[in-house]
């Protein structure tokens, strides 16, 4: 009987959602409460990570990886912190365009010169780290308080939750278009995709541009949330964004994954952080626990297959 409800939960697909729900229950049980405010905080903390990870998601779908998204978000955040107070439209536009331009650079290098994405973005990661420090040598700048207030406000639904939901909808829309199908096709088999009529160079470049712009949106959100810019704030997200998409069930081999998984990945990482904070454990543990959970998730399909096979064998023998 146990096998029946286990298979009904469809662990294979719903793994990220179930992990998140389990962690959320643990969180509620430990703290003994789950207020509107907790929900708002959780979403606000998860939002920048989710955005940067969506950027990572588009690139990983094509079978690539982008290590420069963290620093790109630093650059965008720094631009925003310098410009938003003067003129909001300019601030947002410059930040997002900077991200898109940085992504275009990655895309052109990967596509035109057929360089491995990991090498290209390792290089540009360093470049954008430097550029961020040139723009904003010290943390600071200014973000209009009304923006920060808006992000932490609650009009029946917490703004941060609405923003997260919106980001999810936007990302699912992108993956459901012909462009999204082409992203997955390239990730699965680039040659076959080209032979099937996919404009591989254009689609791949677009993936990096989109990733840069999305990561920039994440950087701007970070600046708004903290009311200031920091040239190194994105560094934490360089590998965290990769871990997040993997936690969300996206295959680093390319071609497999969905937007809901990425949101769940971001929420999982965030909730672990909040649990550790609650337990008064050092944030060093966050790194260890994130790593262990990541390995567990990556290993789980093969472990489950193995257990399933042993189970079937036993039943057959019996």
């Amino acid at each position: 009987m146990r096998g029946v409800w286990l298979s009904r939960l469809r662990l294979e697909e719903n793994w990220p959602v179930l992990t998140f729900v389990a962690l959320l229950l643990l969180d509620v049980a430990l703290k003994g409460r789950f207020s509107r405010f907790d929900l708002q905080t959780l979403c606000a903390n998860a939002l920048p990570l989710a955005l940067i990870s969506f950027g990572q998601f588009f690139v990983v779908l094509t079978g690539g990886i982008d290590l420069s998204l963290g620093p790109i978000s630093s650059v965008a955040g720094s631009c925003a912190a310098l410009l938003l107070a003067r003129d909001m439209t300019t601030g947002f536009a410059v930040a997002l365009l900077a991200g898109a331009a940085a992504g275009l650079g990655n895309g052109l290098l990967v596509v035109r010169f057929a360089l491995p994405p990991i090498v290209v973005t390792l290089g540009s990661m360093s470049v954008w780290q430097g550029v961020a420090l040139l723009i904003l040598p010290n943390p600071g700048g200014e973000v209009p308080p009304e923006l920060s207030d808006f992000l932490s406000s609650d009009y029946g639904v917490p703004t941060s939750l609405a923003a997260l939901a919106l980001a999810w909808l936007a990302a699912s829309w992108v993956t459901s278009t012909r462009f999204g199908l082409h992203l997955r096709a390239i990730g699965d088999d680039e040659t076959a995709a080209r032979m099937s009529g996919v404009a591989v160079p254009r689609v791949k470049t677009a993936a990096y541009v989109l990733a840069g712009a999305t990561a920039a949106a994440g950087g701007v959100t970070l600046a708004i949330a903290t009311s200031s810019g920091s040239p190194t704030v994105g560094d934490d997200y360089i590998l965290l964004s990769v871990a997040t998409v993997v936690l969300g069930g996206v295959s680093l081999g390319g071609g497999v994954g969905n937007a809901l998984g990425v949101v769940m990945g971001a929420l999982i990482v965030t909730i672990i952080g909040s649990l550790l904070y609650f337990a008064h454990l050092s944030s060093f543990y966050q790194s260890i626990i994130n790593g262990v959970i990541l390995l567990a998730v990556v290993a789980s399909p093969s472990v489950r297959n193995w257990i399933g096979l042993q189970f079937r064998r036993l039943r057959h023998a019996g």
Partner: protein, 500 residues
């Protein structure tokens, strides 16, 4: 009308195609036959836009075409299907169909339900029974080829090129293809197709063009040309010479399989004797491939035993199987058997490095070199040097390298999974000789083939599979094409439960 005017292709010093001129009317189906290296594929690739001619040109409906790539050819109404599939293997059937059949607008969401109805409609129109949600990699090769053909046809081409694109089709699937070809003919589509299977040439084409050494050596009505005549034109040799003499089987049982069960097998039992070539037949995907993979430790068994030399084997992975003396040549050499980026030498000795290694583990290069040079000569592998990357070889030569890799291990039992698929008659003959030589030296061979003639020519016994069981076991004089086809269709054959 499709016209080729003095089409030529030169690679370095070799002239692959020498000034071929040919015309095909709307509604005609032209079968292109010839040995490997005869220039068929090069010819097709120039029409498909994959290769550019060094001289001459392709004209469609009177206008000369300059084709930069396959997408360019598609815009001119020329669709092509090659043996190397262009399906996205981890995407679903539905997504694969949408890739070519989906909406033209890049940013309009492909509503899931809508996408599904498009896919279901396409599958229904082509009488395909596969589930839209199934990932392509889970489909048997024959079904994958059908899907690939459908994708090409869905582009509504004026010219359809099929280069070994129907090589894995089973009997039922060939019937399906015949109906499709007939339908396309009525719509005035011009079809050119390459196949090494004469039965398909006969069923599909109205005319046959025969190539040898880059030249067109003959063109005839399909009905007036016999296979024997065609082979004579292709090679200058006769058909009977294709198969080597079958070596006599020994009495010693080298492998005993009992009641094998798995997701694809439903109780398979048989004995394999020393020096025997045991054929596996039947429709595609009836468990033959799964059996070979199970014996090689690559397909998990739920129950049953495999014994070799009196000991029950535990075959949890290929390494264990190799140690027990089994060798497996897979169907898909590109993804399962060869390191395409590495040299012939590396590929050939990969499985026997332990034997070549000295005391401290350094590889004996001299011994390795002699060994590889001898193999290249013995199997007539066409390459400039043992250092050539396998990728640069033709399909037939790649197959020979793969076969040799395993022959080098001097296996007790050699498992062959449709190894001559898409290989020309000359190479086939060399592979047949290698198989016979291997058996003559005492190895047992299990040969699965979708080409029944091959089973007739090589095997002493044929186990005909149906739905994961041995439906019937044929031996000696009973092994004929008709008998194999009959045995693969009859319900619950007499041998279904017996040890074969």
């Amino acid at each position: 009308m499709l016209a080729l005017h003095n089409l030529s292709k030169r690679y370095g010093v070799t002239e692959a195609v020498k000034s071929v001129s040919l015309t095909a009317r709307p509604g005609s189906v032209l079968g292109l036959v010839g040995e490997n290296g005869a220039g068929k594929s090069s010819l097709i690739k120039m029409i498909a836009g994959v290769e550019q001619p060094t001289a001459g040109h392709v004209a469609l409906d009177g206008g000369a075409l300059t084709l930069r790539d396959t997408n360019d050819a598609l815009r001119h109404g020329i669709a092509s299907v090659f043996q190397e599939l262009t399906l996205l293997r981890s995407l679903s059937v539905q997504d694969n169909l949408l890739l070519t059949d989906g909406p033209r607008h890049a940013w309009r969401s492909l509503n899931r339900r809508q996408g599904r109805s498009v896919a279901v409609e396409v599958l229904r129109r082509y009488e395909l029974t596969m589930a839209p949600d199934a990932p392509v990699r889970a489909l048997p090769l024959g079904a994958q080829q059908m899907l690939e053909v459908v994708r090409a046809v869905e582009r509504r081409p004026k010219v359809l090129l099929l280069d070994e694109a129907t090589s894995a089709l089973g009997a039922h699937e060939v019937e399906w293809m015949v109906r499709l070809v007939e339908r396309l003919r009525q719509h005035g589509v011009i079809m050119l197709f390459i196949s090494h299977r004469w039965d398909q040439i006969v069923r599909f084409s109205t005319r046959v063009a025969i190539m040898r050494n880059g030249e067109l050596v003959g063109e005839a009505d399909t009905r007036t040309l016999s296979e024997a005549d065609a082979i004579q034109l292709m090679t200058g040799e006769s058909f009977e010479a294709s198969f080597p003499r079958r070596p006599p089987a020994g009495d010693e049982i080298v492998l005993r399989a009992r009641d094998l069960h798995s997701s694809a097998l439903r109780g398979v039992s048989f004995d394999l004797r020393r020096g025997e070539v045991l054929g596996l037949g039947g429709l595609i995907g009836q468990g033959q491939g799964a059996l070979l993979e199970a014996l090689f430790g690559a397909h998990p068994l739920q129950s049953g035993t495999i014994e070799m030399a009196g000991r029950t084997l535990r075959l949890a992975n290929p390494a264990m199987a190799i140690r027990a003396g089994l060798a497996y040549v897979p169907q898909d050499r590109k993804t399962e058997g060869l390191l395409l980026d590495k040299s012939i030498r590396v590929n050939m000795t990969l499985a026997i490095l332990r034997r070549l290694a000295g005391i401290v583990g350094f590889i004996d290069r001299e011994q390795e070199q002699t060994l590889v040079a001898a193999a290249i000569e013995r199997l007539h592998i066409e390459a400039r040097s043992p250092q050539d990357r396998v990728q640069t070889l033709s399909g037939g030569n790649q197959q020979k390298v793969l076969l040799e890799k395993w022959l080098q291990t001097r296996p007790v039992a050699l498992l062959l999974n449709d190894v001559t698929r898409g290989v020309d008659i000359g190479t086939k003959r060399q592979i047949y000789n290698a198989i016979a030589a291997c058996a003559a030296q005492g190895a047992a061979v299990i040969l699965y083939s979708t080409d029944t003639l091959e089973l007739v020519g090589l095997a002493r016994r044929v186990l005909v599979f149906k739905e994961g069981r041995v439906n019937q076991s044929l031996a000696g004089e009973a092994i004929t094409s008709q008998e194999i086809v009959r045995a693969s269709l009859v319900r619950g054959g007499a041998d279904a439960r017996r040890v074969a």
